[in-house]
Symmetry: D2
Subunit: 411 residues, 4 copies
């Protein structure tokens, strides 16, 4: 057992920390004003300030860090994790280094399951940061954490598939440059529970695709990364060649996509927590109430200590999970992936709440990133299924594991 990072990771960390602190964070204000000046508030990814950051990032070799293998930076999960954390320091950072969801997961899907033609059409421009994508799975009328509830239909009709259904919380899809949607739906409603679903590529401009509205999370429309769209698909026809993988493999692809997606989210969230702790510490030293700086008051100290103690534990579990994914595969890391999915939003939400409280009313305002980060982290308690579903599954696995151990002991 060994807790230090390897040399390549340390080098990349130093470079990325510098890039985020000296280039990305200072560019936030300019990005906001440039975006505000645009006619389409959702067209975020082509704003000059961001394009410029992307150019710099590519030059510095800080590009597609999330992607193992030759198409990306070739890092392991364990090497990427500490870098993903740093991208949590600024809301522009993930996109600046082309590591922002949902494109990351979509690139992985296309890389691992796409045909050569699909890769040429969509993966290449995504890797180059030229277009954006969306992943359309969640539906408004059902508990989507149970994949058998998916109601969208994908029906074969000659050389085409016809898509009908309604989706919501499709992150990034309000952006006109989100040119391709990976849509999950049922092709085989009578097949086995986990063979009913397929994924299909639906270009944004296909007739029948309706962009209904951008949903708000709390009051944030998140237009600066493409919002969260409600979509409807009305007899949307795409060539049969747009199917991702084989028919009936939708559930399996979704599962494959989840592991890395979750660990990226978790590491970035830890970066969010670190930023919040830093802001909280800075704030409480400047403020005086009732004769003493806030930083000397016991309750504030208690928050800071708890925040540090919690985040240290959490980070180690996320890193161990990354290591497991690298060494025994996503399946072998299944329990740990669930564990970090449960632990991360709870911990980071707690820290953000305290950081907000330490800021007084300002903490809820746009003058600090805290309230907005709170909103984002809060959604993680639902994303890919609510906490309760994951806790239930993790407990079931634990019960099985313990039963086996008892059997082993008692012969």
């Amino acid at each position: 057992m060994e807790f230090s990072l390897d040399a390549r990771t340390e080098d990349l960390r130093a470079d990325l920390l510098d890039f985020v602190a000296t280039c990305v964070e200072p560019a936030e204000a300019e990005f906001d004003s440039q975006l505000a000046a645009r006619p389409d508030r959702w067209a975020w990814d082509t704003v000059a300030a961001l394009v410029d950051l992307r150019t710099q990032a590519r030059k510095r070799g800080l590009w597609n860090l999330f992607l193992p293998g030759d198409d990306g930076a070739g890092l392991t999960n364990l090497q990427y994790a500490p870098l993903a954390e740093i991208t949590g320091h600024s809301r522009l950072a993930p996109a600046a280094v082309n590591c922002s969801a949902p494109d990351t997961g979509n690139m992985e899907v296309l890389r691992d399951f796409g045909t050569p033609e699909q890769k040429r059409a969509w993966l290449e421009p995504l890797l180059a940061g030229e277009i954006r994508s969306a992943f359309a799975m969640t539906e408004p009328d059902v508990a989507s954490s149970d994949a058998t509830n998916i109601a969208t239909r994908i029906t074969r009709d000659g050389d085409e598939y016809v898509v009908n259904g309604r989706k919501w919380w499709i992150t990034g899809a309000m952006n006109p440059n989100a040119q391709i949607f990976i849509v999950m739906g049922k092709t085989d409603p009578s097949a086995d529970r986990h063979r009913q679903q397929s994924m299909i590529l639906v270009p944004r401009d296909t007739p029948g695709v309706e962009i209904r509205r951008g949903l708000e999370v709390y009051g944030y429309d998140d237009h600066d990364h493409g919002g969260h769209a409600e979509l409807a698909f009305h007899d949307v026809r795409v060539p049969a060649a747009n199917l991702v993988g084989e028919q009936g493999s939708g559930f399996a692809i979704a599962q494959a996509r989840l592991g890395p997606g979750r660990i990226h989210h978790c590491m970035r969230s830890i970066g969010v927590a670190e930023k919040a702790i830093a802001l909280m510490c800075e704030r409480v030293e400047g403020r005086v109430a009732f004769g003493r700086p806030l930083s000397e008051q016991g309750v504030i100290r208690d928050w800071i200590a708890q925040a540090r103690v919690r985040v240290e534990q959490l980070r180690l579990l996320v890193l161990k999970t990354a290591w497991l994914m690298d060494t025994v595969g996503n399946k072998g890391a299944h329990t740990e992936i669930q564990a970090i999915k449960i632990a991360t939003p709870a911990t980071v939400q707690w820290i953000l709440d305290k950081a907000i409280q330490a800021h007084g009313a300002g903490g809820l305002s746009p003058d600090f990133p805290l309230a907005r980060q709170y909103a984002g982290i809060r959604t993680l308690r639902f994303a890919d299924g609510p906490d309760e579903v994951h806790k239930n599954a993790l407990a079931r696995a634990e019960l099985r594991r313990q039963a086996k151990a008892r059997e082993a002991r008692h012969g």
Copy 2:
């Protein structure tokens, strides 16, 4: 001891419940679309749908319920409390019955401390619901919970006072019809700690009053009740007759204003919690996951039970506080007022969080009122001073009380 409401309160409750459920809640959507159609998004209180509700409310005698004595409905705090709760069911309800903050507190100040001329000019139109007001106390650069930190200066100059300073989180002040601001500032910086401050009436259109921006809470600008303004006062001159009460009485007036204000907030918040419980119960019966309705799942049941158990306890403490204010006065009820100030947002925030979780991602969206209510309740953990200040003071009082009791026992 007796836990039933008196006949007048029961009658008013029945009438108000009916009014809110059959008139106010159904008018929310129309109000929103009428407001959206206006050129000034902040000009909320003159929207036709709301004006119409106000007309109905006056006719039904559901008007100025918050105000004891002849100017208002003549109710005690204990009688008003269950009515205030009902106004928590719809965000339009408080204004529909002319019981919305900050006008309620401002009317109390004018009624109790205003000169006849001040009353004629501002109290009368406020009582009639013709204009709105704001209360400008919180400042951006200091911990405002400590009144001695107030930096705004109110300086006598001949027959006038000159106001200079900066304020923020001035609720309602973005509304152009918020015609009068009660501004807290220091007139006597060298006086005793609690005699340095005064309050003064500043009409909105006085030269030097700058409306800087509307602050957002989470992403909500709350334009539909006048927002939360950042204001600057640059050499703002008002007649000396605009002083409220005598010079140096600002702190005392602020204290007098707080008691009723807090209890109103608390009761309304309990109404918010009840609405959230109702929505949560409705939601979980419709949703099925993994073969069973959410309403039959243990963790959901646990939330519902805890929500009910918590809100029942909280309501009784708020009612007892109202009774104490009626029988021994705000000073005698000081500890209880602090206690409900501490307990209410914590409890209601917890309930809202669970109700949101039970709704899945929809719970954070504008399709349900939960996320927005969460944002509003969250601010109460700072409003009139953060929880931590109140806990500290309440504990100090408890320590004193216990020390006295020990002395009494041991002679």
Copy 3:
């Protein structure tokens, strides 16, 4: 609505407070040493110091306060509740005024369901404080919160019933003066779910009654109020006339016994919490660490404030429940009885934990009553069924209530 106590209650409170503070608490040490000197550590209720307190209590009219009607002090639940609270200040107080569980509940059962002969034999000496009793319901091998799980059999055989089974956690039964056991068992295993059980009176010295051992709670054997026995009944024969009520009424009698029992426990627990707060406040003023008394440290203040805020809310709910029992009956108060059963141990346990922490290691030692009270309160999270069962039932009722309300609204 009215929150003051009536004159009789106030008088009794003053008298009882004085009695507990000046007679009962000072007698604790002598009671302990007298009991320690006895050959049978379980024979607690005939120790001279306690007998003496009982004599005084009867003289002062502080006797059988729990029992409504002519047999007792004739108080309502609402009148008794604040008195029960005071008995939580000293572990000897309940017995000193003949208001200690499980005798209180057993006296109620005998009073309400006993035959004249049963009353003469057992109720009268219990009312006089001459003997003790036990209530034998909980069983070791099953989840006893589900009454259909009860395995003890009570079989009719001619003029007798024959009892076979095993019980545990039978409080008070180690005391040789606990002369009568009320035993719950199944007489009719094939009857309806709630008509299978009966209760029967089993005198302690009946052949076949085996007192197996005194169970410890944490490390406490609670010998000073009769311990918690594990019992076995081996073909124990009692006359058929020993049946309490009619055959098959066991479940109904158990339910009837629960309401008052719970409210007594809850009120006493609030007294325990008040004592803990008092001890905590006293402790933290005497101790200095790192240059400041503990009482001036923020985290300690936070505990004290939260303790006060929580206990105030809890007490009001218990009092309201008492009032409901008096005005609409135990059935009408069902939800509230469940609510206080859930809320009380959680709240009081939290307060005791903080009071212990404020005392440092001493808080866990026998030098303070806190750790022992913690152990006692902790058992209430199981007694009469674990919290989880009650939360589940309360939530089910809430869901039903809300569904009805929705129906009413939507016609």
Copy 4:
């Protein structure tokens, strides 16, 4: 970064797991009955069943595992940590492998600071498991977490030191075979804050040493590992050569002793938590309530999941701390040592509470180890200073660290 254990640790783990499961756990009952049969309940360490386990352990090479270097097993902290965890599975395990507190810490002190003569007299028999020792630091009348509060005096008088003072919570000291006490006291009250204290060796049978009483934790006297004594030292004279290290070095030696002591406690506590999870899982599969096994009920599942998620995070932080101690020393690991001191008891206490609740009343009884473990873990929230002191210090360090980082950034 690498999360697998090295080969030696894996081998030792396998062997120790087998030894604890097949030899130690099965011996618990016999040990209890042999100890119960002794005239002196405190004379635990010479009970045959335990002596026998020690003999086996030495043969297997499972001996003095805690001690680095040639005197012990020569393991690093990181290698020992997973073994210490396993000793948490049975309360006899630590002593069986001669790794039980406070002897471990005392052996470290003697090894690192003792004179050759002191080592011969006390370290050798301790390493051989022939005698026991105690560490006398905590005092009853002061907040001992602040070392400057120590009131015991150690005064030079010719060739001797004279010890006067009172100590309590001196674990192990009731055992007549605890032959040597390391006593902390003030030699130089006027020296610098951290140079006032010294440590001195006081043999148990020195005149003036008074063993006052064994303190109970909750109701447990812990006689089976020597109890927790209250001691008084009345003019106790020992040779000057009994001083440990130099005069004035007491604080420094105490600090040096703490690091390893804490990490041992933490790892063992994690073993306690794992045992509790195993018992909880076993219990809930056997019990049926309301038609379903407890193991299928959502709230129970939630506890199991949370327990697993928390303990995984905690273990990693403890292991990282061990690694830091090995690589950068105890001083470099200071913050992490504090962090695990804070996190461990809170986490393990929570898990034990849920495991108890899952067991129903049995969970509090001696039929399961849970309540007793709860009592033991609860003391860790005070041992070596209460949580609050450590949180305060950790926060102060965090604030300093963040201030430096800000400076570095803004240069």
